[in-house]
């Protein structure tokens, strides 16, 4: 928890402890990375306005070496601030003043991992997604994704025939029950594309469907999914198989 306000930090600590979560605190942005390396947290709560180094830079530093989920705490919901935060690597954000339940829900959503034990490999063209192994390879080369980007890709790749609206992705990947900021989806699709696409301007794996949302692969790629699944290296199950259901959602 990186925040310079001691009262807020202490209160957050009380709330999180009440939820059975352990929190460590850091009040200085310039010391955040050091603390992060030392403590190896499961999730980072990051205030945008910090002494030393601002939250956006801290997010960039952490993201440069780890995919650990980052939730930004911001007092400003203005476009620039939020988008800057998301583009610098934050997975989600909460606007002050937030309700404790809201924050806990966001933290839980980031902590939740698709811990499927069933072997499952998804394929979009030359992109292979090993779901239990949390790894992605493009033409055999590993691609490093954050857990959130991985979840986003898995959600799309499991149902390549389906167009996902931004709202559906917010619910499925971010765990939002009600309408939320669709910019979350836009920014993270951009970040995902930057990592997996050869030409992010001309995406082939994550396609935009104008006015609706996103879907995996192009039509011809989707065609090839079925035969490929029949002869994989590892045992492959169809993405829509009910043995790999969405885990229950945290929060209320």
């Amino acid at each position: 928890m990186v925040d310079d306000d001691p009262a807020l930090s202490e209160m957050l600590g009380i709330v999180l402890r009440g939820e059975g979560l352990d929190a460590v605190f850091c009040a200085d942005g310039s010391k955040a990375l050091e603390e992060f390396r030392l403590r190896k947290p499961d999730v980072v709560l990051l205030d945008v306005m910090l002494p030393g180094l601002d939250g956006i830079s801290v997010a960039q530093q952490i993201r440069a070496e780890s995919g650990t989920p980052i939730v930004m705490l911001t007092a400003r919901s203005d476009t620039v601030d939020v988008v800057l935060g998301l583009e610098s690597g934050a997975d989600d954000y909460v606007v002050k003043p937030f309700k404790p339940k809201e924050l806990v829900a966001r933290v839980r959503a980031r902590l939740r991992r698709t811990d499927s034990v069933t072997p499952e490999v998804l394929r979009i063209g030359e992109l292979l997604v090993d779901v239990p192994g949390h790894s992605v390879t493009r033409s055999g080369e590993p691609v490093s994704l954050t857990p959130l980007e991985f979840d986003l890709l898995v959600a799309l790749a499991r149902k390549p025939w389906q167009v996902f609206s931004r709202e559906a992705l917010l619910e499925q990947v971010w765990g939002y029950q009600h309408a939320a900021d669709t910019r979350l989806v836009n920014v993270h699709v951009q970040r995902l594309r930057a990592k997996i696409e050869r030409d992010p301007e001309n995406p082939r794996f994550v396609l935009t469907v104008r006015g609706v949302g996103y879907r995996a692969g192009s039509a011809d790629v989707a065609e090839t999914v079925a035969p490929l699944e029949a002869a994989p290296v590892a045992p492959v199950l169809d993405g829509s198989d009910p043995v790999a259901p969405e885990p229950p959602r945290p929060g209320s």
Binding site: L8, M11, D78, T79, P97, F98, T182
Partner: protein, 548 residues
């Protein structure tokens, strides 16, 4: 240029006339002097003659007259001899004309003049016609004098001097003048062009610069050259532009400072508020462990923190509009879906008030280029506002679209609004009836924000209301961002009301009975004055928006 031409032509005509009359006068003087000599010569010849009879006298005259015409081959003048009107002598002479003259050459006026004053020379400027052709004439001066013949008595001798030479001179002068005129006109044109270049061009440049300045290019300046009046104009103009730019930049800085301040204050306020919020929530969750008074206090605390938060959020939104920092995040969305979602959010509130909430929308999606968040917020604000004031009656939300725009109507049948209230319904922090119990946690900014949201879309909110009959708010936004929304598919006046209520006289197309304050609707020019029958509508006790 035209004026210059006229002046040149008039002036040269005047000079030409002067020259012509001068020439004629000169010739006349000459003619008079000459005539006197000739007539004296003739009279002398007559006096010395000793003709015995009329025939001899006729011979004398016939011999004399050709000599009067001139010496040698040059004929200087022509001669006419006519019998004076009062001559009673028996002896008569032939009336004689030089052969090139017609009898009509000597006018009766001249003859009368000679008759009236025979002792002096009489002269007249006249046209000599040598043929029968009436147009064919040349100017001449005729000088008439009386001569007395020994036998035949008084005869009038007229000497006619042709002005052909003068005429030709005049022609030459005229031609010279014509050429002069042409040169002058060209000169005037040239000067006019030069003046245009020197004076009008800088003025045009000033106009262009002023236009660019007003279009926002604050760095535009005029070129300052020379020391003349135009340079003074340029300098004054640039000084004005400098001063304007300074003030605008100053205002901009001030506005940015203000905006920055509000933003900073928000951050500073929000952090402690978050702590308070969490502490209150913690207490609220445990309120059943407290004694009743403490538990109730915690509930009140919780409620007021909600209100505080809502107020802060709305204030920030308003300050964003005021700073012009509000930005439209436009995408093509199904407006019906957005409206249904927003109405669903209000369902718990409607349930708690026992208000039926109905949505009347097309089955198929209605796509529009709108800001989803803002449209949803407007609908939420309008619906919860309607629910607050429905007093248990149903609230109907209508969605309709035409080619140009999409509209959302929210109709309740509650307390309604009167004309005065209609005018203030979008005012910030305004409440229809301060005496009425404040049941909602509204901030008093919801409708003001809704109106700003509508205007940001280039749309508007029309409102109709009448006491006891409820109110109707209609949001109309263009389907294409930036386009004109037009009349809109939903009329703000409910159709169920008879024609007698249609009072705004717009060809039966009754429209927004809004309010005439400038910020009331998107198109102030289209706001009709509220007709007297429109009396009431819902007071603004809006919802707050918490969704980001």
């Amino acid at each position: 240029m035209a004026l210059g031409t006229i002046v040149v032509v008039a002036l040269s005509q005047f000079v030409l006339q002067d020259v012509a009359s001068g020439l004629a006068e000169q010739r006349r003087q000459f003619a008079l002097v000459e005539s006197q000599a000739q007539v004296a010569r003739a009279q002398e010849a007559f006096d010395q003659a000793s003709a015995q009879d009329a025939e001899a006298e006729q011979l004398l005259v016939d011999d004399l007259l050709p000599r009067l015409e001139g010496s040698g081959t040059t004929r200087l003048r022509e001669v006419v001899l006519l019998r004076a009107s009062g001559n009673q002598r028996a002896a008569t002479l032939r009336e004689t004309y030089s052969e090139s003259l017609l009898p009509a050459t000597i006018t009766p006026e001249l003859r009368e003049a000679v008759a009236a004053d025979p002792d002096r020379q009489q002269s007249q400027l006249l046209q000599v016609r040598s043929g029968s052709d009436a147009d064919d004439g040349s100017p001449a001066i005729a000088v008439g004098s009386r001569v007395v013949l020994p036998l035949s008595g008084e005869y009038d001798l007229f000497l006619v001097y042709r002005l052909d030479t003068e005429q030709q001179n005049l022609l030459v002068v005229e031609r010279a003048f014509l050429l002069g005129q042409l040169v002058l006109v060209l000169l005037v044109g040239g000067i006019a062009w030069l003046v245009t270049r020197l004076v009008v061009e800088p003025v045009r440049e000033a106009a262009g610069t002023a236009q660019r300045l007003s279009a926002g290019a604050l760095d535009e300046r005029m070129l300052e050259r020379g020391e003349d009046d135009l340079a003074l104009l340029s300098r004054s103009f640039n000084a004005m532009a400098d001063s304007l730019q300074r003030q605008i930049v100053q205002l901009e800085e001030l506005s940015q400072l203000q905006q920055r301040f509000v933003s900073d204050v928000s951050h500073e306020l929000r952090t402690p508020l978050t702590t308070i919020r969490m502490a209150a929530d913690l207490l609220h969750d445990k309120r059943h462990e407290f004694d009743p008074d403490t538990a109730r206090s915690v509930e009140l605390l919780q409620g007021q923190i909600d209100r505080f938060e809502a107020l802060l959020a709305d204030l920030l939104e308003v300050s964003r509009f005021d700073a012009g920092a509000a930005e439209l995040d436009v995408e093509a969305v199904d407006v019906v879906a957005v409206v249904r979602q927003a109405v669903d959010v209000c369902a718990p509130l409607a349930d708690s008030r026992d208000v039926g909430l109905h949505t009347d929308a097309p089955q198929q999606p209605v796509m529009g280029q709108v800001d989803r968040r803002r449209v949803a917020r407007v609908v939420r604000n309008l619906v919860s506002n309607a629910v607050e004031h429905a007093e248990g009656s149903d609230v109907t939300v209508t969605v309709a679209a035409d080619a140009q725009s999409v509209a959302v109507g929210v109709r309740d049948h509650g307390v309604g609004l009167d004309t005065a209230e209609l005018e203030r319904v979008f005012d910030r922090f305004w409440r229809a009836d301060p005496a009425r119990a404040r049941t909602s946690g509204g901030t008093g900014l919801g409708l003001a924000i809704s109106l700003e949201d509508a205007r940001l879309h280039g749309g508007r909110i029309d409102v109709w209301g009448r006491p006891g009959q409820g109110a109707h708010f209609v949001l109309t936004v263009p389907r294409r961002n930036g386009a004109d929304p037009g009349e809109g598919p939903i009329r703000v006046r409910p159709d169920s009301l008879g024609d007698d209520h249609v009072a705004d006289g717009r060809g039966g197309h009754d429209h927004g009975q809004g309010h005439d304050q400038p910020h009331a609707v998107g198109h102030p020019s289209s706001i009709p004055v509220p007709p007297p029958d429109v009396l009431a509508s819902a007071p603004p006790s809006p919802t707050t928006e918490v969704v980001r």
